[in-house]
């Protein structure tokens, strides 16, 4: 599998956002790593799922000549790139040629000029837990600056296996996309056993910063089961209900879930349920 290549301390960076107001509490520096073991049908950034296989399909489509092929590798020229995302649209492998391999020190040098404006860093993906060693090294550097470190994860990797990383991380923002395993397999392509185990383990170890659940059109029973399960346990941890939106979703996802945003009215019923189950910090977006 592609994501197993990354065990060194450099990691493939898809994007780096100096100020983000949507990746955890307050203003945060957000880092998006490339590669994800899930292939969710509703994914908004499917180009983060796989690493580039250097097939070269994108090279000739670049309108400004920012892509070239040298020694069978696709090379991206950051200076020339105008971020029109044509390469991402034509990629047959759910990937992007615009990936930088970065070391924790290189990320830190991008972080430092904005450090005084942010509470800390949030690392997302793809799935950032594909690179636990990189995260440990990066978090050690960020913590030394007195800033917080959050992991944004799909929960595919068992956090308890990384005690050093978990002692550095201030918390995890965990996706629980469905509690029903068959439904989870159907929409995410993989089982959810570890996800649910992580949910309990993080909760018990007070490392759960936030839980997120997608609300899917036409799957009311599944939505109800997931929201009911999580909200009975989550207590004071922030629980975000994210309404499905069709933007950026690939055709298989649209076929299954449709071209409409999950309605606010239906979402409100689930918010009410979550609150009545004792979840004190429910947010619906």
């Amino acid at each position: 599998m592609l994501w197993t290549v990354a065990s060194m301390t450099k990691a493939p960076v898809n994007r780096l956002i100096p100020f983000s107001n949507v990746d955890g509490p307050g203003n945060r520096f957000a880092l998006f790593l490339q590669g994800c073991p899930f292939s969710c049908l509703f994914c908004h950034n499917p180009e983060t799922i796989h690493l580039c296989v250097h097939c070269g399909a994108c090279v000739k489509t670049c309108p400004v000549g920012a892509l070239s092929r040298v020694d069978e590798k696709v090379i991206w020229n950051r200076e020339k790139c105008v971020n029109c995302d044509t390469c991402i649209k034509v990629c047959p492998h759910l990937s992007s040629p615009k990936i930088r391999m970065m070391s924790p020190q290189e990320v830190l040098s991008e972080f430092e000029p904005v450090a005084s404006y942010v509470r800390g860093i949030s690392v997302s993906g793809g799935e950032c837990m594909l690179y636990p060693q990189f995260l440990s090294e990066l978090f050690a550097l960020i913590k030394a600056k007195g800033k917080t470190c959050l992991i944004d994860s799909n929960g595919f990797t068992a956090f308890e296996n990384y005690p050093e990383l978990m002692s550095l991380a201030d918390g995890v923002m965990l996706d629980v996309k469905a509690v029903d395993d068959d439904f989870h397999k159907k929409i995410c392509g993989v089982e959810n056993k570890t996800v649910l185990h992580n949910f309990s383990w993080l909760l018990k170890n007070q490392k759960l910063e936030e839980v997120r659940t997608i609300l899917y059109p036409n799957y009311e029973e599944e939505n109800l089961r997931t929201v009911d399960f999580i909200s009975k346990r989550v207590k004071n941890v922030r629980y975000k209900l994210l309404r499905y939106r069709p933007f950026g979703v690939r055709s298989q996802g649209i076929e299954l879930l449709g071209n409409q945003t999950y309605s606010l009215e239906d979402a409100q019923k689930l918010v009410d349920l979550a609150k009545s189950n004792g979840a004190s910090q429910v947010v619906c977006i």
């Binding site: 956002i17 100096p18 100020f19 983000s20 107001n21 949507v22 990746d23 509490p25 307050g26 203003n27 945060r28 957000a30 000029p113 904005v114 005084s116 404006y117 942010v118 509470r119 977006i285």
Partner: protein, 504 residues
């Protein structure tokens, strides 16, 4: 058509605006009282120095910052007012006095620290009664002090009055008064500051003033008045003149010529022009001898200073370095940024090397001011030390860049940022940014949501819906609306970059 008749027949002017326009016209006819030298006149005609239309015969200081605490404690003899005993009397007394506080616009540019003045009275009544009273107070201000350079302050402490003013500001959505929160993360509680952020997104106010920075420069008794002018309470600003640096830079044959000849010459002209005007105001206009504000001690002459303004630092730097594309110049290139610093250092030295007969509160020196521009500046001279509109870099880059320059401008400097809807859900994030910027030396932060009706143009507030009235040849009560229209059309002042949820 003669100018008097033109004013009289102008369909976009209210009665009151006509009176003021006619008064300005009359003053423009006096060429004897305040003599100016030829070099000054020539530089003014060339657009290099600008007196902001302060008039030929100044009959009051430009900005007057009364100490309204005296009104609260002792009343006012001229207005036959005793010290107010409750909230209704306090707000009525303030409104009566505001009517008699002059300025360059003929409206008071400072209304006091609302929470400090009113909190003792607010605490004596129910919240409902306080809110009703304050609602009338704010409505009265909006409908009678019809000029959005009218400015009130809040903070740095949280207060019931402060909370009510923020609530009402959101509910009423008015352009007047302009509002600043004196913000100090060590004094101002986060929840109060976040309410102010939310209010700012909706209504473009309050802006955030770096309290620690102003206190260090001015002491506790400072005011934020007019756009964002730092001045002393019980004092004010005699005058504000400005260098139009971009226009000036065109006179230089080289960078060295600019520093050796051009900049010192025009700086000297402006300093002396300001001093002549200040002496006229103090020695000949009779204002300090005759006005009750001075006679009763609401202001003291020694608490006034001169404000040395500038615009067009960005374009001056780009002109001197022969950079044609602004996206490669000031704000994007360290050589350009460092030249900006060198200009500020040179100005700072020369301005602080000039000794005024007056301005005792600032050790007989004038304070530098990053002037917000006027409608006729167009795109040639960007306000103060700002990066030109249309070329704003990422938010963090713009803030980092600004902190190179803000420290020089003790009488005011700041920038305006436009945000998308997502920031309503993350007022914490915006507060983090403001706090971080201030820790780095950012002086004054203004923002608004891209969909707001009340918008901050360059430093003052107008309603977009009111500009549309002028577009339709109708009147607008707010005297500043016409400036907003000019800045929109000539300076693209409403077309700022919109910062989204992941501000890149």
């Amino acid at each position: 058509m003669n100018q008097v008749l033109q004013i009289v027949q102008d369909a976009t002017l209210t009665y009151h605006q006509k009176v003021l326009a006619l008064a300005r016209l009359a003053e423009a006819n006096d060429h004897e009282s305040l003599p100016v030298n030829d070099a000054y006149v020539k530089a003014k005609e060339m657009g290099i120095i600008c007196d902001l239309n302060e008039g030929n015969t100044p009959y009051r200081p430009r900005y007057i910052i009364p100490d309204y605490r005296i009104l609260m404690q002792k009343g006012c003899a001229m207005l036959e007012l005793e010290a107010p005993k409750d909230l209704w009397e306090a707000t009525a007394a303030l409104l009566m006095m505001y009517h008699h506080v002059p300025s360059i616009t003929s409206f008071p540019v400072f209304l006091g620290n609302f929470d400090e003045l009113l909190e003792p009275f607010v605490l004596k009544v129910s919240k409902e009664e306080a809110k009703k009273c304050l609602r009338l107070f704010l409505a009265h201000i909006d409908k009678t002090l019809t000029d959005s350079f009218v400015h009130a302050d809040l903070g740095p402490k949280a207060s019931v009055t402060g909370e009510l003013i923020l609530e009402l500001t959101e509910e009423m959505n008015l352009a007047m008064p302009n509002l600043s929160l004196k913000y100090d993360p060590e004094i101002t509680p986060d929840d109060f500051a976040e309410k102010a952020v939310s209010c700012m997104l909706k209504t473009s106010k309050p802006s955030f003033a770096n309290h620690q920075m102003f206190v260090k420069e001015w002491g506790e008794d400072y005011a934020i008045a007019s756009c964002y002018n730092g001045l002393k309470i019980a004092g004010g600003g005699f005058t504000l003149h400005r260098l139009r640096l971009a226009t000036m830079a065109k006179q230089a044959e080289s960078v060295e010529d600019f520093f050796a000849r051009v900049l010192p010459n025009y700086t000297d002209l402006l300093l002396n022009g300001m001093e002549d005007r200040i002496r006229f105001i103090v020695e000949q206009s009779k204002w300090f001898e005759t006005d009750f504000l001075a006679r009763e001690g609401f202001v003291k002459m020694e608490n006034f200073t001169g404000m040395f303004g500038l615009v067009g630092l960005a374009e001056a730097v780009n002109t001197l370095l022969k950079i044609e594309d602004p996206a490669k110049g000031f704000g994007y290139n360290s050589e350009a940024d460092q030249l900006g610093v060198r200009i500020m250092e040179a100005l700072n030295d020369q301005v602080n090397g000039f000794k005024s007969k007056y301005c005792a509160c600032t050790e007989h020196h004038y304070g530098l001011h990053a002037q917000v521009g006027i409608d006729s500046d167009g795109m040639d001279n960007s306000p103060g030390a700002r990066i030109p509109i249309g070329y704003e870099p990422a938010l963090h880059q713009q803030l980092n860049h600004s902190t190179l320059y803000h420290k020089y401008f003790v009488t005011g400097c700041g920038d305006v940022f436009k945000f998308d809807q997502t920031w309503f859900n993350s007022t914490q994030a915006l507060l983090d940014i403001i706090r971080g910027a201030m820790a780095k030396g950012y002086r004054y932060f203004s923002g608004y949501n891209a969909d707001a009706d009340v918008v901050r143009v360059t430093g003052y507030l107008v309603k977009r819906s009111e500009i549309e009235k002028l577009d339709a040849n109708q009147t607008s009560l707010n005297n500043a609306t016409v400036f907003g229209k000019g800045a929109r059309d000539g300076g693209h002042a409403l077309d700022r970059r919109i910062h989204d949820q992941s501000s890149r």
